[in-house]
Assembly symmetry: C2
Homo-oligomer: 341 residues x 2
DNA sequence: AAGAGACCATGAAACGTTTCGAAAAGTCCA
DNA sequence: TGGACTTTTCGAAACGTTTCATGGTCTCTT
């Protein structure tokens, strides 16, 4: 089998057949003015007959743009199983369709010295979604490089640097408020809190919101009621007993992630306590599993899909409008009432 | 802010600095022979200092290859929430890293006349993973086009056409065998079966396996015991009552997907029956939710990640070895014993 | 009927690579 | 020392587009 025997139809083939210059065909294909309607018609017809399909790569080379949205996430072989990310990606995928762009994925290995800018240059990515950041490294140089080279981007996480950049994240304060209000409205006074990963952007923010709000809600203020998890199921299983074993145990547990909440639930059930009878549980995230555990978990839904879509929208707006100020969007979450409280 | 002020380092910049022809630099960058070690060293050093990064787009244009794996799936806005696909994609992502390729995603809208080959041409994709096929259309011309143009591909689903192609799917027969054997070993004689979507590749295959096997396993043969679902949670909820309402109801239900099994479980529990005490339930797929329902679902794990990786491996082998015969891999699944039976 | 505009179409250059035939530079041996 | 190799380096062409200055062809006005 010979390869590339049948080479594909180019703009020149069409030009030859139509008896015009290939630059004219280019104008037609890009829907630009200054081509007579008659000629345009003719060229389009021929292109259609011949089954022309533009070569995006050649187009990218000259325009220095790739018609692509590049999603960059940190090196982590298990990235894709984390449902949290997946739903965001669905949103990005939708946006790509809307803007007629292809979607590319890159994992960034910062330990090998790879930078966001290098990736953009290597693949001529002109629109980048940055999904998560290792804040232990200085990222501001990268940001500057992207900016200097006309690459538009959004962060899909809280951006902790000083620069003003497009970013989309959930409104953690509002989410925590909803949780505590809901619990308070059901008469809970003592609410145990399992905090999330302190090295993330969301973990500390939720904890801060919790501390800022519980007095306002009239809940018990007691440092004992706060334990430190890291968003994982295991940390929920590990930390929940500390709350249950208190002299004065809480009547409700709020975990900063669903996975931790589910871990806590397992422990509670193993001890023969009933949920929500003996103790209520609330999570945060509305991951897929939350609906399937028993009892189904009451939690806060982050509109992840919407967030993914918004992130692309912001970057596109920056691209189309030079005067558009980078925005930091905090998306309002939603309370999902189920059976766990 | 001016754009592209700082244009990036090219092979020519390096050539100028090193005082050589840019073609020589190209040879060095591609690790080709016929360059003296001394010069090679010097060029590499300069390239490194200047922070050279190859322009993959220019490279693609000339080589007609994109160093990319293109994953193509059918137009379906909710593609990405289906965990089944996601785990496969994780495998593909791993393989991409292994072969140092970027990952691109495309949704194919066959109603608009888009073909697999067109996508490959448009983006110079030379390695394609085809995730699912609309078998109501004739795909053999597409296959031929891909072949004729040296584009290597694997199907990540059972391929139903006549051609010999690379394909990776789960061994459904073996999976069903494991289920029935497990149920039989626990003394079940009457096993209800909720069939999957009849228009898919997997649905009929599992049903066929069920029918071929239940006599061998000494189970009751009774057409009443087979009901028709479509893989969704809702169809499980809808069909399970038909089995429970039989004059002689089954002692176990086997659903051809976890989602249907979970739907069935909900109905069973609503009727106040205990699982597995009154009735055992088994699923198929080992989706994420299976571990979290109560009781946790005994099911068949498809090694999805492995399948994704294998699909890329096969395509790469075809690419590297012209004489490699396309293979059709049926991956052995695994029984995951949990509490539902 | 000629000059001024407006509109169309063209051809060449460019994008950053790879490839390949040919030139240049080494090496070896007689 | 010169011819015959071999190895190294070079230069030009090519990949399929877009862009843009230039020139040609209309149509209108005076």
């Amino acid at each position: 089998m010979k390869r590339f025997e049948k080479s594909s139809i180019t703009i020149k083939d069409i030009a030859k057949k139509a008896g015009v210059a290939h630059s004219t065909v280019s104008l037609v294909m890009n829907d630009r003015e200054h081509v007579s309607p008659k000629l345009r018609e003719k060229i389009l017809k021929i292109a259609n007959e011949m089954g022309y399909m533009p070569n995006m790569v050649a187009r990218s080379l000259i325009s220095k743009k790739s018609s692509t949205v590049g999603v960059v996430f940190p090196e982590n072989p298990h990235f894709f199983t984390i449902t949290y990310f997946l739903m965001i990606i669905e949103g990005i995928q939708n946006a790509c369709k809307k803007y007629n762009r292809a979607l590319m994925f890159f994992s960034l290995d910062q330990t090998k010295g790879e930078s966001y800018y290098q990736i953009s240059r290597k693949w001529l990515i002109d629109l980048m979604i940055i999904m998560n950041v290792d804040y232990t490294r200085d990222i501001s140089k990268d940001i500057q490089d992207l900016r200097d080279n006309g690459i538009y981007f959004s962060f899909l996480t809280k951006y902790l640097g000083k620069e003003k950049v497009n970013s989309v994240c959930v409104d953690n304060y509002e989410g925590v408020r909803m949780v505590l209000e809901h619990l308070a409205s059901q008469g809970h006074k003592r609410v145990g809190y399992i905090a999330g990963n302190p090295n993330s952007a969301d973990g500390p923010e939720r904890t801060q919101a919790y501390k800022a709000l519980y007095k306002k809600m009239g809940l018990d203020q007691d440092e004992e009621l706060i334990v430190q998890g890291d968003f994982t199921f295991e940390s929920g299983e590990r930390e929940a007993p500390k709350l249950l074993d208190l002299k004065k145990p809480p009547t409700a547990i709020f975990a900063a992630s669903d996975y931790m909440a589910i871990g806590a639930m397992r422990v509670i059930k193993e001890r023969g306590l009933s949920i929500p009878g003996d103790i209520a549980v609330m999570g945060f995230d509305n991951t897929l599993e939350a609906a399937y555990v028993e009892p189904a978990l009451t939690t806060i839904r982050q509109p992840l899909q919407e967030m993914g879509e918004k992130a692309v929208d912001l970057a596109i707006r920056s691209m189309n409008d030079e005067s558009f100020e980078p925005q930091s969007l905090a998306i309002k979450p939603e309370l999902i009432k189920r059976q766990s409280c």
